[in-house]
Subunit: 139 residues, 2 copies
């Protein structure tokens, strides 16, 4: 981890922080259409998964698995979508999204389908608290 890790401004603008895990910062995408977490390894200058060394990649895999299990336990999705794209935001980040057959993009991927719709603030805080507790309990 880099002490001077900085989150990309676009991620900062679109998300709320859930917690820090061993490697990654866990963010909640502030889009009420989908339960959507983003994991950002807290190191500078990473763009691709293959920029991680093998040990870090394994840790990131563990953290993706934890995020997936927490989303599954809370939202009972029909499918999880896990993706490292980064065509628009160059800082390495991994999407972990809970998808349902009745969500507004199904079965298409979520990116670029609908304008982001922020959570109502108290609902967002409640969700953030619940997620932070789940990560703290499991990690």
């Amino acid at each position: 981890m880099d002490r001077d890790f900085l989150l990309h401004p676009q991620l900062l603008a679109d998300t709320a922080m859930v917690c820090d895990l061993g490697l990654s910062r866990v963010l909640l995408m502030d889009d009420a259409h989908w339960p959507w977490l983003i994991l950002v390894p807290r190191r500078r200058q990473l763009r691709e998964l293959i920029d991680l060394d093998r040990e870090e990649r394994i840790v990131l895999g563990d953290e993706i698995e934890l995020a997936s299990r927490i989303l599954r336990a809370r939202f009972n999705p029909d499918k999880l979508n896990v993706a490292a794209l980064g065509n628009q935001v160059e800082q390495l980040h991994v999407h972990v999204i809970a998808r349902h057959r009745n969500d507004p993009a199904w079965p298409a991927p979520v990116w670029g389908r609908l304008p982001r719709r922020s959570y109502e603030p108290s609902a967002r805080q409640s969700l953030l608290d619940g997620l932070a507790l789940a990560f703290a309990t499991a990690a």
Copy 2:
């Protein structure tokens, strides 16, 4: 690996086989718009990354890394896209796609953007031979 592993019919229809790695079958998406590999762990009944046990997930990570490095060496992409979605094809499969700033979907994800355009057969064979050689040399 399951001896009776069967590829999903949609993957069979849309791809050509490159090779088998330790865990995954490597497929070339038969879409000349993008250099696009798909890794399918050769086990039955997998839908999610979290259906893999940890050892298998680490092996899959190694194989994704190898596929990424081979695409990068051959196509010099501006970005790699790595994703396990599976909203339409329920068999666990991982996309590894070489993206360029001048490709026809950039910066959007590739899924659902354009009708698939098959390679010209001799170009496809040449690409398959080159990729198979690269995997055989590296693995």
